[in-house]
């Protein structure tokens, strides 16, 4: 199995576990540890625990300098394995599937599913 395919399959597995509710993610707003000393922006960090490893997932916005005084904002999704102090031990290679995982995690942590079900059942009354 090619290494990149292995990572994609691992991320797809995380998406499945997240969508089935077997992997619970928590929201962490303390993003300083990652962005300190940079102009990068992270709104929220998601953490989870799977197979004795701590996982950290986030979207980072950063300046992409086109010329010396011109830049545009770019963004990238990161998935890392971290230690107990929150230091990144390993970062998954960048891949579009990480956005699918981020979408699934946002869906889970926002509780939008429960909200919509509650709202619809209220509307029926």
């Amino acid at each position: 199995m090619k290494e990149e395919s292995k990572f994609i399959k691992a991320i797809a597995k995380l998406i499945q576990l997240t969508q089935d509710g077997d992997l619970k993610w928590s929201i962490n707003k303390n993003t300083k540890q990652i962005t300190e000393g940079t102009n990068n922006i992270i709104d929220v960090v998601y953490t989870a625990h799977e197979e004795n490893e701590h996982l950290r997932l986030y979207e980072m916005k950063f300046k992409n300098w086109l010329e010396e005084d011109t830049f545009e904002w770019d963004n990238q999704a990161f998935l890392e394995i971290i230690d107990e102090l929150g230091n990144a031990i390993w970062t998954f290679p960048s891949n579009r599937t990480l956005w699918d995982l981020l979408e699934a995690v946002r869906y889970q942590t926002s509780g939008v599913d429960d909200f919509i079900n509650r709202l619809l059942s209220k509307a029926k009354k």
Partner: protein, 155 residues
């Protein structure tokens, strides 16, 4: 005697010219066929280069949409079915432009989409996930192909 000699010389030169003419026609036909064949290759190569980035982007879009709708499955079964239909159309288009292992992957995905029941039910979730994973892997494969193409055109 002299007349006969002149006539036979004329006949010989006429036969030679006609023989050369025939050979030239055959060569001309072969060259035309070869040029036509080359034009077709160039045309399909050009079409592939123009359409490839769009089709690759579409594959990514379909896989992202399917994954997003899987968050609320089976409520989103209808949306996934519609996306799979769009995906099928793009994959059929892509299949005709690919060769080798990428073409085999596309055929396999199309086969798996066809196997899905209509309408989709809660038991289809795992099969949809497999289609999603295959689409992501195909997208990766197409990324590699794109890099190969760029490398070839820079050579």
């Amino acid at each position: 005697m002299n007349d006969a000699l002149v006539q036979s010389t004329k006949d010989l030169s006429n036969n030679t010219f006609s023989y050369i003419g025939s050979i030239a026609s055959i060569i001309g036909f072969l060259i035309s066929a070869w040029v036509l064949f080359k034009i077709r290759i160039i045309e399909s190569h050009f079409l592939f280069k123009v359409r490839f980035p769009t089709l690759k982007r579409q594959v990514g879009k379909h896989s992202a949409t399917i994954s997003r709708h899987l968050n609320s499955f089976p409520d989103s079964a209808n949306e996934i079915e519609i996306e799979l239909k769009k995906c099928q159309a793009d994959l059929k288009n892509l299949k005709s432009k690919l060769n080798g292992s990428s073409k085999t992957s596309v055929k396999e995905i199309l086969k798996n989409i066809n196997k899905l029941p209509s309408p989709l039910n809660e038991y289809s979730k795992q099969s949809i996930r497999e289609v999603h994973l295959s689409l992501v892997l195909l997208e990766q494969d197409l990324d590699n192909l794109k890099e190969d193409l760029q490398w070839r055109s820079n050579k």
